[in-house]
Amino acid sequence: MNKNKRISLALASIATMTVCFESCNYKPKNQGRALYNQHCSSCHMENGQGLGELYPPVAKSDYVLANKESLACLIKNGVSGPVTVNGVTYNTAMSGNPQLTQNEISNLVYYILVELNGHDDSYSFKEVKQQLGQCLISQDES
């Protein structure tokens, strides 16, 4: 009896762990990290430290924190012209990622802000949606 109970308890905990593993993979920061590695890490490097004075850091970056409202549009549409990050001026054009969906950009912004820059996680998907709506409008107008 006791043995059976233990076995079922073990089975139950395995089942719970499996569920957790499944759901853990869908956390925004995990998808954000995967997207970061796929789309950003070539230039900004794995830990977001950037490279020399060619590619600016996106981790511990004053630019990221000061421009958090425009990150979503920047990722989608790219940026060119000089930008100053942590006191260094960079002037390498970044191509956009128009193929990324709104959810993907949200998760990417979340990863960059929260994981790479220690921003609190109050950043919401709704904000990203609003920002993307606005950058598309301003782009259409220009």
């Binding site: 070539s42 490279l51 004075e53």
Partner: protein
């Protein structure tokens, strides 16, 4: 008693096998090319002989407009790759890794780095200069080279490194991320993935090995 001597015997056998295993592991680096195949006909039968040649001569210009030829690498070990400055994919990681080699061998005159741009139209000497400065490169250690388009592509082919213009590829060019290690006889001794820090660790171990061997 019997049991004890059996155990001692076993440990001796084990110890000896461990020691010999270590001793027999003398490091060697293969010669990977270029190879020359010589066909001769002897008594009506075709005999193919493979010998190792050297990387042929070349002439390019670096970020300071220095002419870079096979004489620049005479008596030296060199690491070479193909890239372009506006490459949005693997090149930045290759440059990050090449920079590790640059920094490690900055004071070792016997090691030089040669990077070929496969986009000579856009990658002018001036543009390579700016790129090198922003990366913190010492010209005498790391030559970022441009030159005649056909010479660059035929050189890539000679090193057996894939490089081609491809309008569908990001940035307009498709190329391999390989680093080649070439010895003082201008023979290729190793091919490494230039985007992988562990492979580049191996490359630096191999540089050390070749340097000590010569």
């Amino acid at each position: 008693m019997v049991n004890k001597s059996w155990r001692i015997g076993l440990s001796i056998v084990l110890a000896v096998s461990i020691i010999t295993a270590c001793e027999s592991e003398t490091k060697q680096l293969p010669i990977l090319g270029p190879t020359i195949i010589k066909n001769t006909v002897v008594d009506g039968a075709l005999i193919s002989d493979t010998t190792f040649g050297a990387i042929r001569g070349f002439k390019f210009w670096d970020q300071d407009s220095n002419v870079i030829t096979e004489n620049t690498v005479e008596g030296k070990l060199y690491v070479t790759d193909f890239f372009f400055t506006s490459c949005p994919t693997i090149c930045p990681k290759m440059k990050q890794q090449m920079l590790r080699i640059h920094d490690r061998y900055l004071d070792e005159d016997k090691v030089v780095l040669l990077s070929h741009s496969i986009d000579p139209v856009r990658d002018s000497v001036q543009r390579l200069k700016t790129f090198a400065e922003k990366l913190g490169v010492q010209t005498e250690k790391w030559h970022l080279m441009t030159g005649n388009r056909d010479s660059i592509y035929s050189m890539a082919k000679h090193y057996v490194i894939a490089a081609q213009e491809d309008p569908d590829a990001p940035g307009g060019f498709a190329h391999s991320g390989a680093f080649l290690l070439v010895d003082t006889k201008r023979q290729i001794r190793g091919i490494y993935d230039g985007t992988d820090p562990q492979e580049v660790d191996q490359l630096m171990d191999d540089i050390q090995f070749l340097n000590e061997q010569e």
